[in-house]
């Protein structure tokens, strides 16, 4: 891997040499008989933002689900902070410090904002109040009316709540599946700046994105997936400058 330095506002240099928080190797998985991933590997270092981009059907969301244990792997392995969590239940993975924000239907609509956050902290035994205050600090808009039902929030606010819910356990690594899908451009920027804020608190982030340009501009490193295989990998600026990426996904 080539490591060229690039300016990134307010962030430490990519700690790629550090220990991996999350590592997946040669993951083969799919739905029933249909195999979507044919052996994908990735690595997320402590405090890193790693993006996964690629065309529709490349297997980006499937990779997320496989890493989080929602799909049974046909082969391959997933490690979380050096511990093998291949085939572990979501409950155990969450306790180990990895949280996941699905692409859609990622809040509990009939629960209030505060109840949604309580459910995010379901496996937490203590320090709920303190964490709630910290998360409200990150998302002041949510703290304004914590009793409102999540179903009444707008698309962008819901996405914020979904991020906040996943942060309630103070995870080591956060998986975001297309957090900006079907949002207005203004909200897209807000979400990306929140993602950066969250990362600055020390949380490693693995993000799947359709907005390849924006994703590449905020991530430390990125993987390009195609047809269920690793196609390219590199730092954000490298991939932004890469002719192949431009030709394939950025429509340049």
């Amino acid at each position: 891997m080539i490591s060229s330095e690039s300016p990134r506002p307010g962030q430490p240099p990519p700690p790629t040499a550090g220990p991996a928080v999350l590592e997946a190797s040669e993951v083969v998985a799919g739905y029933g008989e249909v195999e979507i991933l044919h052996g994908v590997s990735l690595r997320v270092g402590a405090g890193e933002v790693v993006a996964i981009i690629g065309p529709n059907g490349a297997g980006k969301s499937t990779l997320m689900k496989a890493v989080f244990g929602l799909l049974k792997l046909k082969s391959g392995a997933v490690w979380l902070e050096g511990e093998d969590v291949t085939g572990a239940s979501p409950e155990r993975i969450v306790r180990k410090g990895m949280c996941y924000v699905p692409q859609s239907e990622n809040v509990f609509p009939s629960l209030s904002i505060q109840e949604n956050l309580e459910m995010g902290a379901f496996t937490r035994r203590d320090g709920f109040r303190q964490r709630l205050d910290e998360v409200y600090g990150l998302f002041p808009a949510l703290a304004e009316r914590p009793q409102i039902r999540a179903g009444r929030l707008s698309g962008g606010q819901r996405q914020m709540l979904a991020l906040a819910r996943a942060l309630m356990l103070d995870p080591r690594v956060l998986l975001l599946d297309e957090p900006t899908a079907s949002l207005a451009p203004k909200m897209v920027d807000d979400i990306f700046s929140k993602v950066r804020n969250i990362n600055q608190t020390g949380v490693a982030i693995l993000i799947v994105e359709q907005n390849a340009k924006e994703a590449l501009s905020i991530c430390h490193r990125a993987y390009v997936l195609a047809m269920g295989l690793n196609r390219l990998e590199g730092t954000g600026p490298e991939l932004l400058a890469s002719e192949e990426v431009g030709r394939l996904y950025l429509g340049a």
């Binding site: 989080f68 929602l70 979501p90 409950e91 969450v94 306790r95 949280c99 996941y100 699905p102 239907e105 990622n106 809040v107 509990f108 609509p109 009939s110 629960l111 109840e115 309580e118 459910m119 995010g120 379901f122 496996t123 179903g151 819910r165 356990l169």
Partner: protein, 363 residues
């Protein structure tokens, strides 16, 4: 190309949206106002029937709240709910008296029964029963919770893991219902039975209403259980997890909520409610094997009327069904034998005009 194809579909969707919007503004309040006016009129003109209707509604409410909870979390119509209530009533009867039907006549098979406790059958206040019935009811509730958990392990759990559709679940629970009724027939025959035989004491209420004292207890039990369920759902962590699972089971799973454990607790709470509901039903009417199944229709009418999945809605729905039934019979529209047709009419009307229930925003 793609756009022109999508356009009529989008138009139709928009039309449907407007329709729904109009329906929400008109049908909801209209239905509610209709029932309120009817209820007020019944309260003034037919006060006795109104009072009895509240008692009938209380029994329905106890069943409907459990039914709606099970629907919310497990997403299937639990057709065995009525028969579970009756089974619970018989289990309580068994703990109270130790009696099963023998070769020719009833035989007491338990060496010790709840009635053997000192003073257990001595009537409390004006009620017909002593504290023994309440202990037997608690025991029946525990037994039903156990029965539900075993049934989930044996029947519903495997179906769930296989990803079976709602029809499969409905038919499976119908099978369970028939099995329960048959068990009752085997152990206690088809005779009508009572916890306490004999004439019941009555109580005079204001406005010249006289009701059987036990019926006050039934109403009280419904209020207490509804309040407990409300506190559980909105104040406890388990209850919130149940609501979260009902809302979005996949998200509950990725939040680290053990949804299987939530399902088990739902069965435990459902069993507890069925225990109380069954004993109250038998206290209001009698112990009779087919009574549970007959109750199924009004139970579903109550649940759907209040918006399926909503316990508060189920409570109000049950009151509406109960009062409408009793008032219709008193007015002479119907002979008492056709009482349950009222629930059927309400069910059909609500499914046609307001499928999400009178309060429901969700469908």
């Amino acid at each position: 190309m793609a756009v022109s194809e999508a356009a009529p579909g989008r138009l139709r969707e928009q039309l449907r949206e407007y329709q729904q919007l109009a329906g929400r503004f008109l049908a909801g309040p209209a239905v509610l106002v209709l029932f309120l006016v009817f209820g007020l009129w019944a309260l003034i003109a037919e006060t006795d029937a109104f009072a009895i209707g509240i008692v009938t509604g209380s029994v329905l409410a106890l069943g409907a709240i459990g039914l709606t909870l099970i629907y919310g979390v497990l997403k299937f119509a639990h057709f065995a709910h009525g028969d579970s209530m009756m089974l619970a009533a018989y289990v309580a009867f068994f703990f109270l008296t130790g009696v099963v039907v023998g070769e020719r006549t009833d035989t007491e098979v338990l060496p010790w029964t709840v009635s053997d406790l000192p003073g257990a059958t001595k009537p409390i206040l004006d009620f017909s029963f002593g504290y023994g019935l309440l202990i037997a009811m608690a025991m029946a509730a525990a037994v039903m919770a156990g029965v539900f958990i075993i049934l989930d392990r044996l029947v519903y759990g495997p179906l769930r893991r296989r990803g079976s559709g709602i029809v499969i679940f409905a038919i499976a629970s119908l099978g369970v219902a028939i099995a329960m009724r048959s068990l009752i027939l085997i152990f206690w025959s088809s005779f009508g039975r009572f916890y306490v035989p004999g004439i019941r004491a009555t109580t005079d209420l204001p406005f010249g209403v006289r009701i059987v004292s036990d019926q006050i207890f039934i109403f009280g039990a419904a209020i207490v259980m509804a309040a407990l369920v409300y506190l559980l759902l909105f104040r406890s962590k388990l209850g919130k997890a149940m609501r979260a699972t009902a809302d979005n089971p996949d998200l509950a799973l990725v939040s680290g909520i053990g949804t299987e454990r939530v399902i088990m607790w739902t069965w435990v709470i459902g069993g507890g409610l069925v225990g109380v509901a069954g004993v109250m039903l038998a206290l209001q009417a009698q112990l009779k094997p087919e009574l549970g199944f007959v109750l199924l229709l009004p139970l579903f009418a109550s649940t759907i009327l209040g918006g399926i999945g909503s316990p508060q809605g189920a409570f109000v729905g049950a009151m509406i069904v109960g009062i409408t039934e009793e008032v219709a019979v008193t007015l002479g529209f119907l002979s008492p034998g056709y009482k349950f047709s009222v629930a059927f009419v309400i069910l059909v009307m609500i499914l046609l005009f307001r499928p999400q229930g009178i309060f429901g925003g969700k469908t």
